[in-house]
Structure formats: structure tokens, C-alpha cells
Symmetry: C2
Subunit: 519 residues, 2 copies
Amino acid sequence: MAAKHTSRHLDTLKLRRVAIDTYRENVAYLHRECAIYRAEGFQALSKIEVSVNDKKVLAVLNVVDDAAIVTPDELGLSEQAFAQIKAAEGGLVRVAHAEPPRSMDAVRRKIGGERLSQEDFSAVAMDIVGNRYSKMEMAAFLVAMGQAGLDRDEVYSLTRAMIESGERLDWHEPLVADKHCIGGIPGNRTSMLVVPIVAAHGMLIPKTSSRAITSPAGTADTMEVLAKIDLPPEALHRIVRQQRGCLAWGGTARLAPVDDVLISVERPLGIDSPGQLVASILAKKVAAGSTHLLIDIPVGPSAKVRHMHEALQLRKLFEFVGDRLGLHLEVIITDGRQPVGRGIGPALEARDVMQVLENDPQAPADLRQKALRLAGRVLEFDPDVRGGYGYAIARDILDSGRALAKMNSIIEAQGRQAPHPAPGPLTYEVTADQDGIVTGIDNFLLARLARMAGAPMDKGAGVDLFKKLGEPVTKGEALYRVHAEFNADFNFARALTREHGNGYSIGTTEQVPQFYVEF
Amino acid sequence: MAAKHTSRHLDTLKLRRVAIDTYRENVAYLHRECAIYRAEGFQALSKIEVSVNDKKVLAVLNVVDDAAIVTPDELGLSEQAFAQIKAAEGGLVRVAHAEPPRSMDAVRRKIGGERLSQEDFSAVAMDIVGNRYSKMEMAAFLVAMGQAGLDRDEVYSLTRAMIESGERLDWHEPLVADKHCIGGIPGNRTSMLVVPIVAAHGMLIPKTSSRAITSPAGTADTMEVLAKIDLPPEALHRIVRQQRGCLAWGGTARLAPVDDVLISVERPLGIDSPGQLVASILAKKVAAGSTHLLIDIPVGPSAKVRHMHEALQLRKLFEFVGDRLGLHLEVIITDGRQPVGRGIGPALEARDVMQVLENDPQAPADLRQKALRLAGRVLEFDPDVRGGYGYAIARDILDSGRALAKMNSIIEAQGRQAPHPAPGPLTYEVTADQDGIVTGIDNFLLARLARMAGAPMDKGAGVDLFKKLGEPVTKGEALYRVHAEFNADFNFARALTREHGNGYSIGTTEQVPQFYVEF
């Protein structure tokens, strides 16, 4: 205790960077014997405020008993917190009790069932992008929104708050097209077909995508098999001006960054509310400068949206918020009963896409059909395209090879990957355990299987489907092949099919679920 | 990449203990270059399952870039996770993708507005005590319960699930009394008076308390000024048999442990729902072996419960759940308009308690009165005490010195602290800024002030009140004195009063809020 007293005239600690990646949550490390602020005085789970001059960072406190990590006169910050404080190691920092972010009051009001205002949502968004929320606090916000639900005006307010949390691109053109699928269907790589078709028509379609978070491949991951996707803003703008389109990773621009942070909490929790889904998608698109947007809502027994009435409700919500944002927005409801195309995983999906572009007879017909329908609807955003003629124009662009030529130009402009990653060399085939007709393919299980096999990190990992809904199979016939690059992943994948089945249902033709309507 | 391939035949890592206290959340540390499981394959925020033989531990994954923390062939576990896996450092562990705990499905159903069953609550409780929930997941559970609310049967189910999550004490007597205040009123140390009075009467009252979590002193912290409170189970039982009562820390027994875990998330979030409050209190008491319980609900403008109608609702809920648990339960609604007694903080509160026991003319009258009322009600649990006579018996035990004698016996039995910690030497006085009558004292601000000053860790830290509601003050007269032991805390406290005011309202007699009813 004597030592503690004698050093109490100091009131600063030395900053240390602790090489731990705590992923979107700031963590501060304080030695248990820390002379000044005795770690115990701060409650273990509580947050502290770390400041250097005027720069303040909030961080969750972890107490350390190993001087190799931090010594008693140091204050350690995890990678992300260290990056935020923008000070050198060894510099002097002050530590104080942190107050909970002010906007948590709005979260508590939402928990209490109240309606939140535009100002409330904006305050929460600014506190989240300011790294003032812990993961727990974000979880509280997400659950509160998901449970009480947001009314339409609140969804609009949340969308605006998300847009305002970051930067906005401006393409200086009256018609900037985009398309977006709400997700959940493996192999659904239509963007890589819609973009070259639409750009070949001359319409501006600067598509930026995220990498996969919980799915086995996003458009960015798959495009990366063919080309560079991580482009500096100037290069991106130049390519878009020259090519009328691009297929790039949107991560470098800070577009609706609060959405990325929320997703990092929402996904592991497995919660997903319609209001937040709509706000998340529309905020990203408006921030990316889109003026005309086609939304694809797949419906099916193992899709995100399982019933047509839910899809219709979701469409209304997209339309309401889109209109208030001044977006020209169309919604299309599509067949989400099974994966699209044959490949699941970046290299396998890139193969499917190129087969369609090359008019290869082996090309998966469902991917081609869906891409043409979507591209057709996007083309009809052009005031000079007569309603109903978009599909034929799209098909003409694809069949004539102009879509392939445009794709190759975009690939060259972004920087071609050569050689392409190939499907992973470790493989096994999963076979039918009875004769019959394929009556169900579980999107969720196959996506998970491809992830276990290593997708999207390992480009060649994934699943290659040989049988689709309605096709006959005989006992012992291969349903699909799993590809992996590494043994551990190969074993994870095998364990999954052993434990949870192969994801296929086999029965009679009458048992194949019908899909009635495409809007 | 070559190195990665060649080492892929290994599938285990060496276990390392990482001396970081991550407080009730398991964290695993994996080097970014980890040869086998390449950290990137696991998503940064996701959980992994670490296993040694049959023992499995779930942990949130942090990625490390410093071999001083973990090397690429090691798997680090934070203190709590390491303790759970019960294996030696250097031993071989396996790592796998962790599935979300199965009971998260119930949490998602609750978010969706469903009613949960006894089985659901039990599954959640077992997963939480099994350390299978991350803080985010616990936050999701808490918010889901708080927002949709729990009906009375659900509160009962939650209470039972909490009880079953740990151990239960059995005192082998038909009447085991206890009292509990729902909290929020600083200085409210009535247990330290009720226990010696009731035990002197001969009724069994084995009081175990928690340390303060967000308040400046709990009964355990304050008793610790006078005596040892951390007693092995055998010693506790012996003392209770001999003395008929004790004032000990309940932390060693695993009583409703799921409650402790939930509190560690609930408190920093500042969320607190009636259902959870009732379940939390009753589960602890039933697990501690209580058969007769008096609940104290203080009501006041800065108390946890602000309006009488809320207090009445809460009482009904306590009664409903208590009855179904077979508890003999009484609820008393008390005056929560201001702190009880004069001292706030362990040493200052212990001083107040001893003054009351010693019948010191300086003893705070409100603490004495309240303790007598509560003790009187507890004494009436005795079938031989006629209804309405408890108060007089309690007063007689106190006035005669028998309560003091019993307290001294309990202190000796538990182990006297000598010398007692004294009020902290660093002090400043806060004065009235105008003439008038004290019309309000903010419980919340004064509690926070005492915490900033160092309470409860620094026993001598706290606030000593000189003026209470309704008393006249003149401008410049001292309202209270702040005590601290360390400079940093002293400065934190001063900063708080500078920023948030002194917590006192001064006005006219008519403005003093009235408190009408005590049940």
C-alpha cells in the first residue's frame, strides 16, 4: 500500500499498443497493480475513457496480470482503440470513468416501448460510429428495435441516421442504377451478370459490394477470383466513367459505416428485423449515390423470407422508405427455393458466371434466366426502354457476346487476376441415400457447408451441385461435391454433413414445393 | 503459404494461460499466423469451441499479432476460460467452430414476442452458467425480457431456472428469516441492525449479502469494516448455529449463479425490469434457504421505484412468485426520498450502524426508525409474536443493549477487524449556494459521488451528510463532506460535483415532497 501512496502524485500512464484484434470493440488493458488508477476502482466490466490531449476513446476494461502485456505504469489499447486515439506508443494518457453514451437513454426508451425520433436515431448512430458503444450496448439497441419493431417513419429515420453517419458518393449523373438482393440464397451471383449487361447498354451501374459476412461468398469475394476489387477511390471513378460499371469492394469508402458496426453484432446473434434490413440496404445504396434501385426478395422454405405475405409486407416497407428518400425503387420477388446456379463458393460461382457470359451450353439455366429478368427490369429504368422490353434487350446483349466483352473490359480495367484460383483439390462427394425426385435443398445448410469447407477465405472451397429441385436421382448417385483447400476445413465440412445431414430431401414429384408468382 | 500447407497434418494447439481478466466472458487468443486454424477462417467476432479430451469451453475469439501473448502454435485462454477448461498449460487442445448455444433459439422467440416455458428458461440458465453465452447474447436475452415483459408465470419459471442453476443451502429449521431491500437508497444499512435484533430474539437469520456492484456500499462491504465476511461454509454454519445469525458475504456459495452473470451485463447497460428484479431476489433467497422473507421497496423521486402505483404492482408480483415458491413473504413500502442515515460508503455507514446499536444520542434517527420497523415485521414471522407487537419487541432489544451485545458476538465469531478503517483523510465540504429548506437530495448523484470518491473499494471513502430533507440551511453552510483515500479519486469526485451539481435542492417547506404511506 505504501508504494501506491507514494506514486499517487502521478496521474498519467504510458500508452501501449497491445497487438490484439478485438474486432469493432475497443478494449483497454490495465495491470492489476497499476499504481495510479488501481484497476479495482474501475469495475471490471465497465468502460473507461482514455484521453490524450483532446482526443478521447472509450474502451471496455480488461485487467491484466502479466507485465509482458502491460506493466503497472502502462495503459494498453487493443489495435482498433489504439488506431483511434492517434497517439504514439509511450505517450502519456489519462484515464477516467466513462459515462455510458448519452444516446443509451434513447435505447432504454425504445426498450420501454417508445417511438424514437430522427434525433434519437441520429444520436445513436453518431455514438456507434464514434466507438462509444460496447457490443452489449449495440446488442441492446438491436434487440430493442427488433422486438418492439419500428414503424415506417422510424425505419425512415434510422435509414437517414445511417446515411448521415458516413460519406456519400456523387456520380454527377441523373440515373445511377443498382440492384440488391436481400440475401440468403447461395450461388445467387446475378450482379456479375446484370452489371456487364446494363453497362453494355450504356446505363451507369457502379456496383460496390461487401465481402461475405455469414454467407460462403459475396459478390466482392467472387469477383475477386477474376479481378482486383480493392480499388482506390480515384481508380474506381475512372473505371466507372470509362466502363459505365464496375464490380468493386465497397469497404474503402465510409458508406453508412454504422451499418457495418451493427452487422458485426447482429449476425452472430442471428437477429434480423425487417426495419433494420430495409434501413441497412437503403442507407448503403443512397450513400453509394444510387438513384434507381432494384431489390430482389427471394422466397422459399429455407430463404430469409419464407412466405409470400412477408415478402409483400417487406416490399411495401422498401417502397415507403425508398419513396421518402427520393429513390426510384422497384422490388422483384423471386424463387428462393434452392441455390441459384451450381457452384457455391467464390471460384465455383465465378465459373458459373463466366459460363453464362460465354453462352456455354453447360451454363446453369436458372442463373442465366434470373440474371436476364433482373437486368431487364434495371434496363427499364431507362426512360427510352419501353415497359416489358427490358428482358429482350438484356438477352440480346448477353447472346451477342456484348456482355462478355464488357465483363472482360471491366476485369482488365480493375486488374485481372491471373491465374484464377481453381476449385480446391481436397474433395468428397455426397450421394443420394434413396431413389426419387429432389424435393428440397436446404439453402442454409449448403451455405454453412461451403463455409465450413473454407469459403469465402479459401477461394477454391465450396460446394458444386449436380442435382437441383425436381430432378430424379438414384440411390448412390452423387448429389454434390465438396471442395476444400485445407485438411482442417475438409474435416469440419465432413463433420457437418455427418451431424446435420446432406441438406437434400428426396421424394416424389408432387412433393416439390411450387413457386407461383414472380413480380 | 507453403508453411501453412506443410503443418496442416497437425490438428492441435498448445494451451496457454493468458493473464487477462475478461470478467465473465471467455476469450480465446489465436495468433494471426496460426498454422492450423488460420485465424481468418474463424470470423473475428465469432465464438470457437476449445476442447481438451471431453471438456469443452466456448470462447469469443480475439486475433493476436504478438508472439509474447500467444505464438502461432498456441491457443491462449483468458483467466476465466482457462480456469474452466481444467487443463495444464502446454497441453494439447482442439479448436472448432462453435455453434451458438441452443437456447438462443428461445431468446429469438422471446424477441419475436413469444411466451417462454419453464424448459426454455432452464435451458437459457444452464447455457449461461455453462459459460456458453457471450455478453452480447446475454444482453439480447435481458433486453428481450425487459421489453416484451414477462408475465407472472414466466417470472416464476425464470426464478426456478435461476434457483436450479446453482446450489441450495438447507438450515434444517422450519423458520429461516431474511430481509431484502430492492436497493437504490444510499446509506440504507438496516440489515446490520435487523440481524442482531432478530438473532437476539432467537430467530434464525443467516444473512448473506453481495458486495456492492453499482452502489457505494453493500451490506457485505460495510460489515467488512467491522469483521471478516469471507467465511468458509463450515465456519458460516457453525456461527449461524451458535449466534442464530450472521452478516457474511454470499459469494463463496454458488447460489443462483446465473443471476450474478446476468447482473454483470444488466448493470452496465442500466436496464432493470420488474420481472427480472423479482426473479433475481427471490432466487437468491430461496437458494440461501430462507423460508420467511421481508422485502423493502423504497419509493421516492430518485429511488428505483418512483411512484406508489409501481411499488404496488411490484409487491403483487413478489407475492405471486413468492407464494408459488412456498415462501412466507411480506412486502413493506418505505420512504425512499433521500439517503438513510448520514454516512454513504462502508466506514461511514458502519459508524452510523454502531451509533444506533450503542444508543448514541448522535445516532441517525431515520436509520434507527427504519431498522426497528423492519425488525418488528420480521419478528412477527414468529408465531408466538402477536400481530403489531414486533416493533415494541425490536425496540426493547435495541434499547436494552441486547442488539449491541449480539452484534459484538457475531463480529467476534466472524473475526473482528482491528483497527477499523477510518473515514478517508482527503476531504472537502460542499456548501449550500442559497438560504432555504432542503427540498430534495438526489440518491443517484450522491451514490455516484461516493463511488467516484473510491467507495466501496476504499473503505474510508464516501460522503457524510450534514443536512437532510426539511432542514433549514444558510448560504455557505456545509451540506456534506466528501472523504477519499487517494488523490485520483478525490479529483474524480470533485469533477463530478463541478459537472453535475451537488445533488441538493433548496427551496421552501412546501416544496419538500411528501411521503404518505408506509405499509
